[in-house]
Symmetry: C2
Subunit: 209 residues, 2 copies
């Protein structure tokens, strides 16, 4: 059976949410961050050489990387749900969002976390990161103009993957000037599967040092 290794306050919430949306069977293993260092515990690090979260285990293999895991679950267990038809341009757009979330959009947020945590700051860096975050939020805001969801105006795995960016961005900046994003988050957080994922996995957002 699919095993989801979930680290508290982490992206692996998205994996639980997807599994709940698809209503597939899975075993959930919970790991708590060290309250001082925010690191994953040693038993999670032992599962994979990178020691990162999320991880899944299935059919004798363990896989890392949020985008790859979401993609894995869609391909192996999705039965075509939460994704457009594979031969449509919307599918190409889905793939773009699936790489965008961690390949680009999380970058300024992660840099903010790192620079806060290590005390490395400069006005230039802060300005650059705020500008980058604003660019990404503006991109998402535009994509949601006139649309309830990111791809083909239908709820998909892209919404699960990308909404975490907005949820963690809220911890670093006001989203008041992004009404489409706020309405989208309300829409997503009202989903029964989202609520079940939060009940099972805990708070939905990044650990904040």
């Amino acid at each position: 059976m699919l095993t989801i290794h979930h680290l508290s306050y982490s992206r692996s919430q998205k994996i639980i949410w997807l599994a709940e949306e698809l209503e597939i069977p899975y075993e959930l293993k919970l790991y708590m961050r060290d309250p001082q260092t925010l690191s994953a515990p040693p038993e999670m690090k032992a599962l994979h050489p990178l020691g990162t979260s999320p991880l899944i285990s299935d059919k004798g293999q363990t896989y890392s990387e949020t985008g790859a895991i979401l993609d894995y679950i869609l391909r192996h267990y999705g039965e075509g749900k939460l994704q457009p038809p594979a031969d449509s341009q919307d599918f190409d757009k889905l793939m773009e969002w699936m790489h965008y979330a961690e390949g680009s959009a999380m970058l300024p947020i992660l840099m903010m976390i790192y620079s806060n945590y290590t005390g490395a700051k400069s006005d230039t860096l802060t300005g650059m990161l705020q500008a980058q975050l604003g660019k990404h939020l503006g991109f998402m805001e535009s994509a949601l103009a006139g649309n309830d969801y990111l791809v083909g105006n239908t709820f998909s795995a892209a919404d699960i993957h990308v909404s975490f960016v907005a949820q963690t961005a809220k911890q670093y900046t006001s989203l008041d000037s992004y009404p489409n994003i706020l309405a989208w988050l309300d829409r997503l957080e009202a989903r029964p599967a989202f609520k079940r994922a939060e009940e099972k996995g805990g708070y939905f957002g990044a650990a904040k040092p």
Copy 2:
């Protein structure tokens, strides 16, 4: 026809390399970074709201995000080349690497670039980024132990995507303690398609402020 928008000294080299490996027809449009700010020129920024590189245009759409673009070209033009069979565990491993390169491995390098560029430094940050980069290089080094290539010991798009991490890492740290990575880079850079990509797109590596 597929159009590859290539920014000098950027990840979009990988897109040219993949197209050359597949020997597919494409139009190459070159854009030069501003020598002072290293930014993409306005005509590239006008192509996509994020203004990032790489970009491709095809069938009336423009797509961003390196991993998504490589995936797009494999799905639409790959004819099964440079990837394991879709129903194999090796395909799942390919997908993991395809998300890993930009979703995780480039992160410490990009943070080094940003903190150098903006003068934001601390010993803690430097130590943390060097440790992270070392973890990623160690991961790649182990994956290449006894293997010439990352997936199924056969050259694939994962080698194209992930090798850029090692190529840019060389600009920030010595790879002398990673003999498998160095031998792999030699193997990859000897490929005729790599050489053609370098002839057409220029120097293979990140812009270094």
